[in-house]
């Protein structure tokens, strides 16, 4: 009479229930299980020591919110078939499955720009074949080719369960209470109108809260200056490795999975290279960093050991660009201090811009459904806080130095 059911403890939501063979198939797949070994927040744990939660847990959390969202919408009379329900759940479980370890650094330095979203889709297609087509509707929803647009919007939109979970979860594990959103209230305010996901009028303050919390998380966590410094150091470290290889160095092998991507990857993802990619996890990069910490190249060694032992580059951050003089002065100081060339000093001293483009993609807006039946985009609402939060340029300038 009863179907197989598994309950997973989650410190954020209490219990997450898995109760369908398709879901079990996805979760037990090695490509999914590897998400256990990849930090959701990359190097943020160097600032927020509790932020070591994994991409697997985020995926399960977003799935849990999807379960709740489906229940709430159905209770309001929105028609969702059992197949659609399962497809939406499968889709959200797999929405981030293409992430690799320290994605930001990895994609720019080792993957030649192949984007994690494309990899997610490739993995979904592979699994779909393995599962005899059971994931086809999930793929259609994920790629926004399914007629009921709101299902796609729940997975990927300005107010999707992905964001609701990561803001909630990252806030929970960092201990930054400013990022708490009222996810349960937002879910209760969702509705569907003309096939599109909407927020009921009385949910405006919850949306306001959501947008402000997101903004707080950008500046306090995701773009926290020390986190930024650590991530830039990792990028530069990998850049140095590639530069040395380009110069002919032969002693940079790590004997781990990333060697392929350092030495042999040509930018083409096929079944074979994807499988290699799916064997990578945080451990490979951390072991490599430890190894490079004993390399004879002073730049490489210093970056590696400093990253490992949390002796991060100093970083200043402000609303305007930094003076060229300031950067030049720091460059000279670094060259002198480490006994390296000015060019090499550029691995330690550099200026740049931080913005939130990695977090706000051009997902569609948030629609509000008013009691009189009219629909407005959130940016058209006469709410000064919302307008400012949305329109405020989230961009700052930084400079790192020794």
């Amino acid at each position: 009479m009863a179907q197989k059911q598994k309950i997973i403890n989650d410190p954020v939501y209490g219990f997450i229930t898995i109760n369908h063979p398709l879901l079990f198939s996805i979760i037990s797949h090695p490509y999914y299980q590897r998400l256990r070994r990849i930090h959701q927040m990359a190097l943020a744990y160097l600032v927020y020591p509790g932020a070591v939660h994994t991409r697997l847990l985020h995926s399960l959390g977003a799935y849990h919110l999807m379960c709740n969202a489906v229940n709430e919408l159905r209770a309001k009379g929105v028609y969702i078939t059992p197949e659609e329900e399962m497809a939406a759940k499968a889709g959200i479980l797999l929405h981030d499955v293409g992430h690799g370890p320290f994605s930001h650094a990895l994609e720019s330095q080792l993957l030649q720009g192949v984007h994690h979203e494309d990899i997610s889709l490739m993995i979904m297609k592979i699994m779909n074949t393995q599962l005899g087509g059971q994931l086809q509707m999930a793929i259609d929803i994920f790629t926004n080719n399914y007629p009921k647009k709101f299902l796609h919007q729940l997975i990927s939109g300005q107010l999707d369960v992905d964001r609701m979970d990561y803001l909630t979860r990252d806030s929970f594990f960092t201990g930054v209470s400013e990022g708490v959103i009222g996810y349960d209230r937002i879910l209760k305010m969702l509705t569907v109108h003309n096939g599109e996901l909407m927020v009921e009028e009385k949910g405006i303050y919850s949306i306001e809260k959501f947008l402000v919390a997101r903004r707080q998380m950008y500046w306090q966590v995701y773009l926290h200056k020390t986190v930024l410094s650590a991530e830039k150091m990792l990028v530069n470290l990998l850049q140095r490795v590639r530069d040395l290889i380009a110069q002919g160095a032969t002693d940079l092998h790590t004997h781990c999975g990333i060697d392929f991507f350092l030495f042999n990857f040509d930018g083409v993802m096929n079944l074979d290279t994807l499988d290699k990619f799916c064997k990578l996890d945080d451990g490979d990069l951390l072991v490599a960093v430890k190894k490079w910490g004993t390399h004879t190249d002073m730049v490489l060694q210093t970056l590696a050991n400093r990253l490992l032992n949390r002796q991060l580059l100093k970083i200043n951050i402000q609303s305007d660009p930094f003076e060229a003089d300031f950067v030049a002065h720091k460059l000279q100081a670094a060259a002198t201090q480490l006994g390296i060339s000015l060019e090499e000093a550029g691995y330690f001293v550099f200026a740049g811009e931080a913005d939130n483009t990695m977090y706000t993609t051009n997902k569609e807006g948030i629609n509000i459904l008013f009691k009189d039946g009219s629909v407005k985009d959130i940016t058209a609402i006469d709410d000064p806080l919302i307008n400012q939060t949305i329109s405020a340029p989230i961009k700052k300038f930084f400079v790192c130095y020794l």
Copy 2:
């Protein structure tokens, strides 16, 4: 006027304050920073996906409770000098610094029985030399050679801040609410009498709660049958590697830090070997497991891939030993299924006992100070719940199989 102060976000306690140069020296030491890369709960995250918190965070948490304990005791008139305060804080920060990755498996298979507590002391002594003797009092307290016994008892006793933090923290990250103890209330109930740490009479119910919560954590988390299965698999995996090496295999190098302990370690910890030990972290073992997943030895390969992809051994658990017949039958089945010898099947099918000896060492008891000035050990209290919880044998039998 103001001294340097750093605030660390902790999802459990909110904020942890570091405000003394000695504490900064300890925390920034590479031997301490490596605790960022070691899971507090080893493989428990295979069952509780949120349980990926690190030994560094536990150490900071225990330190935070020590800060509170010192404040509470002083408010009750207990005299603690600034030097003693700093020594107690340094001692608790370092109490677990000798842990390696997956300590249980590591110590039994690779360290030839060298215990993490001995390593902690060695590291403290090395740091003490580096810091010009500033850690001497901390070492005296840690080794219980300091006259004010209660300071040692706060670090290492039946009711120390170590336990208070790990029960609280493990409960928090696993999401197992049954392990919640009222640590803040317990701290308020602490007092000192004749130089010994005591609990005030009115704190008895809090102690009862503490003991019951600890018991719940044993069975629901630390000795959870699936966690047990995973840990035994890791032990067997390392055993298999060692057995193959003993048989002359030469293709088991991982090119990571554990190679030294696999091939060269003679059981003697000196400055050099300790330094090698202090370079290990979870990443080394996980990378090794991945590597061994492609080895030609069927036993090794199978154990490695199953552990990696969470295809764990089945496990039964009960109060009585299992029938020999049952085990023999399962052995035979495994041999047949994998096409291996009966002896090799023993890596997959085996019986054993689980008890809590790894959690309850012979630390001294808990003393209750009554209003009339008398002192009783907790086991002498007429409280049926406490007696049962303490005296109940915590031991069960298990059998793992394919």
Copy 3:
């Protein structure tokens, strides 16, 4: 398309959803709304200042857990019709509707022993008539005359949603973390076997936790000695009023709703007296106490003002009866101090027993369903903690004095 739905904020569970006309009818009834004006925990707020939550909120909370329980059971294949679902929800909303202000004191002193459970049933019957019989099934379930016994057991049993809510809620509002139970986990462990409510085998530790938490709440909260002192003072205060009336006093009218029950009630509850009862709330008693604080009778005035201003009687509590000498000595001292007779001093100095009979009625036991299909009562489980918790006599002796 969507039905009317109302969301109520609850600090404990987040949101409670009301979504059926029958539920709206119940909740908007004046007999139900009066529960807003009655403290769930009577005078416990004199010790736990946060414990001022109302019987209405507890009722809504228990209803919320019932909603969850129905969902969980259905997900396991238990068949529950929409009518049964609504009857169970109506039943739990009304299970405590018969409580008056400070029930313990009220029932013993003013209601001549009419019990709140009988009043609940009377109110349900009146509402049933008003609602054209819509509550008949709820009444059948409440009185255990409905075939599916598990529905009754969810409302009134050793592990009902009533208890789950009040332990959770009282723990929340008092701030006594020791009373936290894992209600969400318990709900997930519930099942139905042969028409009876059962707990799955793997839920044993949750039940253990539940029983221990309940025990902790008895001693730390419900039978906290200062709470006990306050409640006994209120009983004695009302007793004094009745004694003075019996002696012919004519100046004790309060001009509030309790006058009828002080002067005219003959112990018979009919439509008229029940309506008078349903107009009472905490305000009536508190106004009466204030009024009596200016009465000329020294005993009455002193009891009233002391209760009002939290100058409570001292209280000792222990496992054995108190010596008669001790009580006699305190009686004499009180008579001297207040200038009253020894008999009158008995309002301030008295011994008694406290036990948990007001909390553990003879509700049926908790059944555990084992994986092999066998069923055992919880008391037959070989778990020392459970046995001790259940069998331990919860009875203590107290003496109050000035």
Copy 4:
């Protein structure tokens, strides 16, 4: 050696410690204890059923935050004498002691405009006399006549512990998570510069969060339209009573403490009238409302019973004034429905404005202390969110009707 110490459980902060004879004297005073019988949030519990916490608990909570604030400031080297510490704690305990039941309605209708802050000061002076001058410094701080301005600012300023507690506490008890502020982080960001309370530069995001949370609480809770409706009904109810008395009615006595203020109070607060005021609590008004529910005047009876049974007036709310036609139409409808005159219908149908002036008094601004030593008011910070939150007009128009 140890001083007397009392620990109070608080669901919000865990434990509140009272450890000085002066504090015990204040808390045990009947004028303070009466705050146990006055809801912090007046009628808001009709919308948020958990919001029944008392003014006493808020007072204790604000005191707790003051204890923390003093500790934090001292840890940063700010000099605070033990006398100043005690005065600040006494001052915050008493800052709201002048509140009566349902202050908003009471002050406008029964107290002839005597303001609760003036009453607080009067009570402090009375207690000061009773305590032999021990409260003099507290009074000086409260009235901002003490040289160290930051002590006054902690009690009464834009960022005082009063606000920090009530936002935190009201958010907790209503269950409106949008009102959560990071009070612990704000406290850690406080500092003193030139004798004034400041926020460190790195605390700007916490202040942003604080301001947004406050805004959310205005609209979701304090000025929630249904709360507004209930409070306006209570004001109109008392207005009707006064109008009837003015017309010569003689049957409106309640035999409770408010009779004096209905019939005899001349607007002068002296020792005697203040004592009468200090005997009032929520119970008096609720009993009065019940009594008036049986009065023959249709307007009075209807208002009373509707308020009692939560049959509140409908209310519309918007950014612009309502059309006079709409109000006129509703007035006519109410007169017809209840069979009363158009003038009498004005008790049920009326328009008005709601703004936050009752919450934002002209307390001084929030100063930010930058790392370079400069000081800026928060309104001068280049942060669009802060500017909008502060400058946005918080004013809306409402109309109530049957």
